[in-house]
């Protein structure tokens, strides 16, 4: 087993979406409140009163443990693509005023080769963290607790085996352990300042003095007792809600949550090895009103940047009717990702991808029905002979009947332009050819009985017909 641990020191602030240095998160017990994230240059652990005395502009926000758990879970889901099992925990320290420790672990021992070694894997995880806008410290060790301590101590060099881990742990100070402060002080008073000092103590005496539980902790650190992992598995559906810190009508302030949700969706899709084809973004307003924006992709994919781009274009087109309180993203339609993106030395799939992205951008800006690909329908009535298909990813094999050049070689001549509605003519036109009668549709209510001719107009050749029902002449198209 080789565990990679991410320690998120700023999780309480990140979970609330706070990015200003003047914002700080506080935790309280009774009437007292302490800072648990650093703000405006004041360290975590300072009492709120002291902090306000030093920086009156400081904005204090109460901690939201539920939001922290949700944020950590999201991080765990993003890590799922790198290995399994994945677990996460928030350790609350016994004394109030000490920042909680949020950890997420992923077992990477079995996926090192897949990602091309430890360095490549670490780079990939760092890139993912940047995309998720999540700050974290890394630690790598054969035990979960050991990796967590290395991450806490800021030691990024990996410990690859238990024998390598123990001397590394022995160097760490005792106060890194999540034990009560009184106990840490007692240990320091006895001259036990490093973990190595604790390891060297006789086990029976240590257990009698500090409790069996503490001994177990030390054993788990060094991998001497098994560690029960509660694995986290991504849920089968993707549904995210992001509550904004305050109501807003500005698109710019929605971009941050949009980007974050896009990359979360990317992580979820990678973990489940699938792609998304349809999305629904809902903007929550006051009085439980909602704006629902549907979004469809030409082909299933899992590219966070592309998701973000499409969502942003869609929001730009849709003027927000009311201030937004929260955003809700739901992946409605999933599908297998076409293998094109894995092609090696092949520019073609790249061009196809670029093409699909462009079509999506057009769809997002112009509307879902503005883009179509014509197709031939076997119907004699000209106004029904053209079908509007949605533009597809790549080229459909075959393309349906009647689209090949051979299938239409003997077809009668048809105009390239068809008027949306036939225009009634005041007088009979000068016709150039023999009649072509089209009589069809008596079974579906759109009965057509017409005699078609090609007529000569001053600037163009026209396609006209005489309706046998009322005997009048109509202009139906141009031979452009």
């Amino acid at each position: 087993m080789l565990w990679l641990c991410l320690h998120c020191p700023h999780l309480p602030a990140e979970a609330l979406g706070l990015r200003d240095p003047l914002d700080a998160v506080t935790d309280g017990r009774g009437a007292q409140r302490w800072l648990i994230t650093p703000g405006a240059g004041i360290a975590a652990g300072t009492a709120l009163g002291d902090a306000l005395a030093r920086q009156p502009l400081l904005r204090a926000h109460a901690r939201k443990p539920a939001a922290e758990r949700a944020a950590l879970k999201r991080l765990a889901h993003a890590l799922y693509r790198y290995g399994s099992p994945v677990s996460a925990a928030i350790e609350e320290l016994p004394e109030p005023g000490r920042a909680p420790r949020a950890f997420a672990w992923v077992e990477i021992g079995r996926s090192l080769r897949l990602f091309g070694g430890l360095d490549a894997l670490r780079d990939a995880i760092r890139a993912d963290l940047t995309a998720l806008q999540q700050s974290a410290q890394l630690g790598i060790a054969p035990t979960r607790d050991g990796a967590a301590l290395l991450a806490l101590a800021g030691q990024t060099a990996p410990a690859l085996s238990l024998t390598a881990l123990e001397p590394r742990l022995a160097e760490l100070p005792v106060w890194l352990l999540a034990w009560p402060k009184a106990q840490i002080d007692a240990l320091n008073g006895m001259g036990l300042r490093r973990l190595g000092d604790l390891f060297a103590l006789p086990r029976a005496g240590f257990a009698r003095r500090f409790g069996v539980e503490r001994l177990h902790t030390l054993d788990r650190l060094r991998g001497r007792v098994p560690d029960a992992v509660q694995a986290i598995v991504p849920p089968p559906v993707f549904r995210r809600r992001f509550a904004l810190p305050e109501e807003t009508v500005h698109l710019e302030s929605l971009l941050f949550p949009l980007r974050r949700m896009s990359y979360e969706l990317q992580g979820w899709l990678r973990a489940r090895d699938t792609g998304v084809r349809g999305l629904v973004l809902e903007c929550e307003h006051a009085h439980a009103r909602r704006t629902r924006l549907g979004l469809r992709f030409v082909c299933a994919h899992r590219d966070g940047a592309r998701l973000f781009d499409a969502l942003r274009t869609r929001l730009e087109r849709e003027a927000l009717a009311a201030p937004v309180r929260a955003l809700h993203l739901h992946a409605t339609e999933l599908g297998a990702v076409s293998g094109g993106q894995l092609a090696l030395f092949d520019g073609r799939s790249d061009a196809q991808l670029q093409w699909a992205e462009t079509v999506e951008r057009l769809l997002a800006r112009l509307g879902e029905h503005a883009l179509w690909t014509p197709a031939v329908v076997e119907d004699h009535r000209p106004e029904r002979a053209t079908a509007q298909r949605s533009p597809l990813c790549g080229t459909p094999p075959g393309g349906g009947p009647g689209t090949g050049p051979g299938a239409t070689a003997g077809a009668p001549e048809r105009p390239l332009w068809l008027l949306p509605h036939p225009v009634a003519l005041t007088q009979a036109p000068r016709v150039l050819d023999a009649v072509e009668r089209i009589e069809s549709g008596w079974w579906d209510g759109a009965d057509a009985r017409r005699d078609y001719h090609i007529a000569d107009a001053p600037h163009a050749r026209a396609w006209v017909y005489r309706d046998l029902a009322d005997g009048r002449w109509y202009l139906h198209g141009w031979f452009a």
Binding site: A351, G404, A407, R414, W417, L419, A460, R461
Partner: protein
Amino acid sequence: MRAGHRQSLPAHPYLWRGADAAPLRAQATGWTALDALLPGGGWPCGALSEVLYPQPGAGELTLVLPLLARLTGKAQTVAFIAPPFALHAPALARAGVDLPHTLVVETRNDPDALWSAEQLLHARTGAVLLWAQDIPTTAMRRLQLAAERGDGLALLLRPSAAAAAASVAALRLGIERIGGVPTVEVLKCRGARPVQKITLAAPAPPHRPAALPARGVRLSFA
């Protein structure tokens, strides 16, 4: 003496000779008589071309059909942006256009149409046909640059009234029906002087007989 001058001239550093200029890359129009006239032998690649027509139906689509058939046959996409009427799929299929490789974009206004054309040209679309009424010079420059970047063909189709206005297009063709026959006039072409007053009737494109209209439409030059 004269012969000596002639031999020494090409070596002179201040002398520029038109024949040595980089040849234009072009896509054949499919109309042999027109191809013979145009520099490079057709629609210039990676550039903006204009087709001016007095009214829809003058033959502007017939002129480009051989190109569309060839491009879609090579699995390159062709986009129609803001066409004035509905395209009739059976007619396109009859002319040899491979319909799955075509895309129609309907827009509400000219800025949307121009934006779509630019996006599609950037995405390396084979040819973009754009119908627009009033198009500012800056927008034409943008189209020209987009066509250069995507190395595609940008075809701007607009009414003949715009013929008098200045244009940055590499090629401008005017088409109208004279005596029932579509007649093409080269108004401007990059790399050669526009040819006037040439009357010849061209047979339909040789590579695909299906593109030949069944009756009386011949492409000719006046």
